[in-house]
C-alpha cells in the first residue's frame, strides 16, 4: 500500500465535474455582466447598491470553486503530503467574511438613511439623445440580475449533490436566492418612482439582512470544515451515511473483531483513520492492505483512509462507543 497520489474523480463524476466547471464559468461571466449593468443604472438607489454588492460578492464562490478545481488536479508532493483539497476552504472562508462585512455595512448604512429620512435622488440619464428616468433602466437591470441567476442555481444544485460539493452547493443556493434580492430592490425603485422615499432604504435593509445571513451560514460552514467536523451530507443537514458504512464494512470482515473510524472532509473526499482489532495476527499485513483496498472500492470519496491494527478499542470519549450500528446508519450523537 502506498500513500495516495493524484486524485481522480470516477469517470461518471468527471463528466459532472466538467459540466459544473462550465456552469461556474457561465456564472462568472453572467455575474460580471449583471454587476456592471447595475453599476451603470443604480444612480443613488440604496437598494440597487445592495443588489449590486450582492452580485459582486456572489462572484467569490464560483471563483473559489474554479481555483480549487485547478488545485485538486495537483498531486501531493513532498511539501504538501495531503495534497491541495483543503485550499478551497480558505477561499470559502474569505468569501464568507466578505459577505458578512459588506452585508453589515449596508445594513448599518441603510438603517441610518431610514432613520435620518434621507430621500434618495434619482434623475434622468441621456441614452442615445433620449432622457430616460434611471428607474426605468434599473428595473430591467434588476431583472437581469435576478432571473438568469435562478436558472443557473437550479442547474448547479443537482451537480452539487452528485459531486458532494459544498462550495458548489453554497454557490447554487446563493444564485437561487438572488431573485429575492432583485425583487426587493425593484420594490425599492418603484417606491422611489411613487415618491415613497422610505421604500428604497427599507428594501436595502431587507437585502442586507439576506447578505448577512448568507455570510453567517457560509462562515459557520467554513469553520466546521476547518475544525474537521464529522462529515455531513453536501447540504450539511445530516451526518454522512458513509460514516456508519465504513465501520460496518470493516466489522463484516471475518478477521476483524471490532472497528472504529474517524473521518474528516477535504473538499470532495474523506480522509482519516480506521482502527481495527484483528482476531489473530495471521497475515496481518495483507489483511490490512486488503481492507484498505476494500474501503477505497466502497466509495470514491474514501480516497485516503488509513487502516491501523490495534489490540483493543477504548470507549470513545463522547459516548457509549464503539457501538454496533445498523448497516448504513451513522452513529447518533445528537445527545
Amino acid at each position: 500500500m502506498t500513500l495516495p497520489g493524484r486524485f481522480e474523480l470516477p469517470p461518471d463524476k468527471q463528466d459532472l465535474h466538467r459540466k459544473a466547471r462550465r456552469l461556474e464559468w457561465m456564472t462568472i461571466a453572467y455575474l460580471v455582466s449583471a454587476t456592471v449593468l447595475l453599476y451603470l443604472t443604480i444612480g443613488q438607489s440604496q437598494a440597487g447598491k445592495a443588489a449590486m454588492i450582492e452580485d459582486a460578492l456572489s462572484l467569490t464562490p464560483p471563483i473559489a470553486w474554479l481555483i480549487a478545481a485547478r488545485f485538486r488536479d495537483k498531486p501531493p508532493d513532498e511539501r504538501h503530503p495531503w495534497g491541495f483539497h483543503r485550499g478551497v476552504t480558505l477561499a470559502y472562508l474569505a468569501s464568507a467574511v466578505a459577505l458578512l462585512l459588506f452585508g453589515g455595512f449596508i445594513l448599518i448604512e441603510s438603517t441610518f438613511k431610514l432613520i435620518t429620512a434621507e430621500h434618495p435622488p434619482m434623475g434622468v440619464i441621456s441614452v442615445f439623445g433620449e432622457e430616460i428616468w434611471l428607474g426605468w433602466l434599473l428595473l430591467p437591470a434588476l431583472a437581469w440580475s435576478g432571473i438568469p441567476a435562478v436558472l443557473l442555481g437550479r442547474a448547479k444544485m443537482p451537480l452539487a449533490a452528485e459531486l458532494h460539493d459544498k462550495v458548489l452547493y453554497a454557490d447554487a443556493k446563493m444564485n437561487k436566492a438572488d431573485w429575492l434580492t432583485a425583487a426587493a430592490a425593484a420594490v425599492g425603485v418603484i417606491g422611489i418612482g411613487l415618491g415613497l422615499w422610505w421604500a428604497d432604504a427599507a428594501a436595502a435593509i431587507a437585502i442586507s439582512l439576506d447578505i448577512v445571513r448568507d455570510g453567517w451560514t457560509n462562515l459557520r460552514r467554513a469553520g466546521r470544515d476547518l475544525i474537521d467536523t464529522r462529515p455531513a451530507t453536501y447540504d450539511g443537514s445530516a451526518p454522512h451515511p458513509l460514516l456508519g458504512k465504513i465501520e460496518d464494512t470493516l466489522r463484516e470482515l471475518d478477521w476483524v473483531q471490532d472497528a472504529q473510524a474517524r473521518l474528516r472532509e477535504e473538499g470532495h473526499v474523506f480522509t482519516g483513520e480506521a482502527l481495527v482489532v484483528p482476531r489473530d495476527g495471521e497475515d496481518l499485513v495483507e489483511r490490512i492492505e486488503g481492507a484498505a483496498r476494500r474501503l477505497a472500492e466502497l466509495d470514491w470519496r474514501f480516497y485516503d483512509v488509513v487502516v491501523v491494527p490495534v489490540s483493543t478499542l477504548d470507549k470513545r470519549p463522547d459516548g457509549p462507543q464503539p457501538q454496533v450500528s445498523e448497516a448504513g446508519r451513522a452513529p447518533d450523537r445528537s445527545t
Binding site: 434621507e118 430621500h119 434618495p120 435622488p121 434619482m122 434623475g123 434622468v124 440619464i125 441621456s126 432622457e131 428616468w133 428607474g135 436566492a177 431573485w179 429575492l180 425583487a183 426587493a184 425593484a186 420594490v187 418603484i190 417606491g191 422611489i192 418612482g193 411613487l194 415618491g195 415613497l196 422615499w197
Partner: protein, 240 residues
C-alpha cells in the same frame, strides 16, 4: 421559509406595479411635491457668487450663466423666481430643510455637498487649459515657461503640480502676455489658442432638495437638451 418570503416579495412588487399603472400617475414623483408647487407658482432659488456662473452685482437680479438658465426654466413652468443669496453652506442647509427649491453657484459634480443635495446630471463640461498666442511653440511639459493665472485661483497650484511651468499670478488675465491658464471658453476672447495642456475638467451641476425626483427630472430634461444654448450663454457671460 424562503419560498414564503419570496412570494410576499413578488406580491409586493406586483402590487406596487399595479398601483403605479392604475393611478396612471407620472413617475417619478416628489415626496414633498416640489414640482407641483413651483409650477405656476414661485421658485425659491439660492444663489452664491461664482464668476462667470453667478454674478451678484445686483443681488435682486442676479446675472451670469446659471441665473439666466434658471429664468428660462422658470418661464417654461410659468413660475416667479424668488432669489435668495447666501454662502454655499447657508443655501445648502436651507435646501435640505425644504426652504429652497434650487441652488446655483458654479457647483460641479465634485462638490462636497453631494450627499446633502440632489445634483443634476452634469449639464456642461468645461476645461481649464493653458492657452498661448498663435504662432508660439511651447515645450510639451511647459518646462520653465512662464504661465499667467488669476491670483488666488486653483490654476496656480495645478500649473505647479501638473506641469513644469513657472506660474505667474496676475490680477487680470487680459493684462497677461504670453501663455495663460484660463477656462477654455475665454481663449478666443483673449486672442489665444489652446496648447493641448489641460489642467482640470469641471462638470457643472445644480443642486436640488434630496429625493424630489419629479422636480429633478424636470430640470434635467430642460438642461440636457440645451448644451449648445448653454455654451453660447457661457461665451457671452464669460466675458469680463
Amino acid at each position: 421559509m424562503r419560498g414564503r418570503r419570496g412570494r410576499i416579495g413578488s406580491a409586493a412588487a406586483l402590487a406596487a406595479l399595479v398601483v403605479a399603472a392604475l393611478s396612471g400617475c407620472q413617475i417619478p414623483q416628489d415626496p414633498d411635491g416640489t414640482l407641483d408647487i413651483v409650477r405656476d407658482g414661485t421658485m425659491r432659488v439660492g444663489v452664491t457668487e461664482s464668476d462667470p456662473w453667478v454674478d451678484l452685482a445686483d443681488p435682486a437680479n442676479p446675472g451670469g450663466v446659471e441665473p439666466e438658465l434658471v429664468r428660462r426654466f422658470a418661464d417654461r413652468l410659468n413660475a416667479e423666481i424668488d432669489w435668495i443669496d447666501g454662502s454655499e453652506e447657508e443655501l445648502i442647509g436651507a435646501l435640505k430643510e425644504g426652504q429652497l427649491d434650487l441652488v446655483v453657484g458654479g457647483l460641479t459634480k465634485k462638490t462636497p455637498w453631494k450627499k446633502e443635495a440632489s445634483l443634476t446630471w452634469p449639464y456642461l463640461k468645461t476645461r481649464l487649459v493653458v492657452g498661448a498666442p498663435p504662432g508660439t511653440s511651447l515645450p510639451e511639459d511647459l518646462d520653465g515657461v512662464p504661465v499667467a493665472f488669476e491670483r488666488g485661483s486653483e490654476a496656480g497650484g495645478l500649473l505647479e503640480r501638473k506641469t513644469g511651468a513657472r506660474a505667474v499670478a496676475v490680477d487680470q488675465l487680459d493684462d497677461a502676455r504670453g501663455a495663460v491658464a484660463a477656462g477654455e471658453w475665454r481663449l478666443p476672447d483673449l486672442g489665444l489658442r489652446a496648447t493641448g495642456v489641460e489642467l482640470a475638467e469641471h462638470q457643472h451641476v445644480m443642486a436640488l432638495p434630496l429625493g424630489e425626483n419629479a422636480w429633478l427630472v424636470e430640470l434635467e430634461r430642460f438642461l440636457l437638451r440645451r448644451t449648445g444654448e448653454i455654451r453660447a450663454l457661457l461665451a457671452r457671460e464669460g466675458r469680463p
